[in-house]
Symmetry: C2
Amino acid sequence: MSGGETSYEILEARFGQIGALGEAARVLTWDRSVNMPRKGAPGRAEQLASLRRVVHEKITDPAMPDLLDAAEEEVARDPWRGANLREMRRRWIHASALDADLIAAMARADSECEMAWRGAREADDYEAVKPCLRTVLELVRRAGEARAEALGCPLYDALMDVYEPGARTGRIDALFDDLAGFLPGFLDRVLQTQAGEPQPLPLDGPFSVEAQRSLSERLMVQLGFDFEAGRLDVSLHPFCSGVPGDIRVTTRYDTTDFTQSVMAVLHETGHALYNAGLPPEWRRQPVGSARGMAMHESQSLIVEMQACRSAEFIGFLAPLVRDAFDGAGPAWSADNLRRHYRRVARSLIRVDADEVTYPAHVILRYRLERELIGGGLSLDDLPGAWADGLEELLGIRPPDDASGCLQDIHWYSGTWGYFPTYALGALAAAQLFETALAARPGIPDALSRGDFTPLLGWLREAVHRKGSLPATTDDLLREATGIPLRTDSFRRHLERRYLSDR
Amino acid sequence: MSGGETSYEILEARFGQIGALGEAARVLTWDRSVNMPRKGAPGRAEQLASLRRVVHEKITDPAMPDLLDAAEEEVARDPWRGANLREMRRRWIHASALDADLIAAMARADSECEMAWRGAREADDYEAVKPCLRTVLELVRRAGEARAEALGCPLYDALMDVYEPGARTGRIDALFDDLAGFLPGFLDRVLQTQAGEPQPLPLDGPFSVEAQRSLSERLMVQLGFDFEAGRLDVSLHPFCSGVPGDIRVTTRYDTTDFTQSVMAVLHETGHALYNAGLPPEWRRQPVGSARGMAMHESQSLIVEMQACRSAEFIGFLAPLVRDAFDGAGPAWSADNLRRHYRRVARSLIRVDADEVTYPAHVILRYRLERELIGGGLSLDDLPGAWADGLEELLGIRPPDDASGCLQDIHWYSGTWGYFPTYALGALAAAQLFETALAARPGIPDALSRGDFTPLLGWLREAVHRKGSLPATTDDLLREATGIPLRTDSFRRHLERRYLSDR
């Protein structure tokens, strides 16, 4: 570095390099899910661990606290630089809360437990993975305590803060209790309504992978995805990764059912459009990142649930689907396709759940993981507590642990405090969409022509280009919608879609 | 790090991490050639530059010289650790010879010139890229001077040393002058012989990509490639990258001609087998790396040229090829396939050249780049010098610069001192194969059954498992064949194949 740089400039250069190393890790992680052969796993783990160690070393460099303090005054009157400094400090607080030994122990325990979980889920044997999970939980608790001390907040809040800056239990409780009070009664009404309606006619396959891929790519382009700046590939579970200029979306194809894969692609493309729309002038800087996982999920759900399951878009989609698979007859009508995409049911598996019952799955996990972290619930009692909780929220009990507390990878891979963001994202999506519709009343009409420009234009301005300029999801929503996160829009959305708009 | 470690142990831990970061860079580089969309290029350049900067920082850490010195005594009686320390020091010397500013300037100049070269080659416009190339050459010279000072050797030797440790101009001159004296007369005799023989019958396509891929994979398995520890993909130019446990081979398919792609795959699989066979207990350590680029090329050429173009293997290959493409008639006989794979011609393009004329292309580039680096030849005179040199060695002149001094990417991308390794590899391949045949006389018979086990077994022991335990290619060859690198085996090989074994 040459002399004469301000502390802030030094920090920007350092975080730019940290950002580039983070991007490298994203490519390696994508490759692991899409390309890596089985025997590459141990080597890849080393590569990723080394990258993480370097990033941790660089963030926790002894010069960092002084640089952060000295930069405060330099950026005092500049909102973007000020926000960037705030986000740098946040990363520094989180990174320096954990020592290298704890990080290494967590990486080992997470990866061992994740391996054990794969077998245990297969064999429906919770007891087999419980000892591993106990180790993971103990380490998560230790890490949470260290983060809580550094942040000055309760333990579980500190865990959530990793994924959702500023998330606090009090806020989440209020939102989730409200949903949990509303959903059971609402669900009864929806099921009753749907029982009185024609059942969806079956869509008969097989549906070739080639036809599904080609339809997916067509739809992605329609949404505004740029294939000169991204790809669509196949992985076991759909996800979106990559970096601006090189966004990587994945899906999986089932030749007996195209409906899941098409919606998964639309969902992941929502994530992709957020990543692609982040402020380019802040690339690789903390303030240039997505605001948090709740906002990220809101961007996938606004595309999948709000826009693409609307009657307008399904009207546009139905003929495309019919052409893609040479379909004919009433099963291929827009009405029937809409019935497929709006089917509601009490079901056991979160990732297969519809938009009405989905929040119940999240609320269950949120309640359980808080209790597990806090010590109020022991791992021995988890399967029973799961069944009781699901019964309370959805009125069904899992017949086994494989479709109960073994179904999700999160806890076993050390991801605690993440679940709430799924439901917060659904709430935020509804709230943003309602505001977008008020601001640009032409959106539904555009969607009926497959035109996402008005919606995407609004999202770019109100959400994507903001990066992490607002300090929290609530701050961002206040700027975009005038109010912090609430359940009202989501409830209105569900009522409209499942009780009126039939 | 806990206390009580020896200096050597500290070094091993550090180089282990450096090795893992190097592996990460290999995955990113592979991805750039195979997957990355166009607009990902600037971001990827940043990611790779950041990784290189971190590696450079870590190797040139101020504590390094003392650690290297203190470790000398600790490993004095241990050949592997001793060799590892020697290789660590080699890397440290090379890395610390260049300062960060020079490295950054080179990265920028190389990447700009490479971009300019793409357009210039397309437009056959050497003048358009000459200013860029001048900058690259000046920086290469500065870097070479710094390396030469650190290594205590002449400038051009220091450039070669990056790719081929211990390579010295005197040795190369002796080998190349010998070849340059032998080749023109030999080439005349071969062309005369082939003129009196039946011309190869054309193999008529089209040859589907799917059939070519499937044949390629079949052949790779036959050679000993493990698809649980590697992949075959498509890129503009065939190459082999990846790491043990995850070897990445690429090729390209031409639906009008399968012969090139099949041989490219066999060639790259030779590289792959070397990478896969490196000593696993020294993974990510300097001594666990391939000995140098000449040895690496020898492993691809021993597979492609020595084994796979042998009459025995082509006898095995012909029916597979026939089946793969539903061929019938005399064009699909082993005799005709062999004639295709042994066709010799005076030609302009190095990468398309046959094994007889290939060394002439390399010798031309070696002579020219030495003169350019030394200042005896100016870039203004390069096109003419190229034409004169090619005429002297092969008796033909390029009609334009696109098929002359613009054909190869190397100089324009800052790769100087690399070319000799291609021809050294061909010499080493012949020498190793001759020794392998003497040690395991069953090899030709095994090849006629498509069985590579005896050859691969010998190579594993004599070459792959040695990693960089021997200090130079000559040391490795002395251990494996009893003598340092010579031209004798290669000349015998050419005479046998192109004058007797018809």
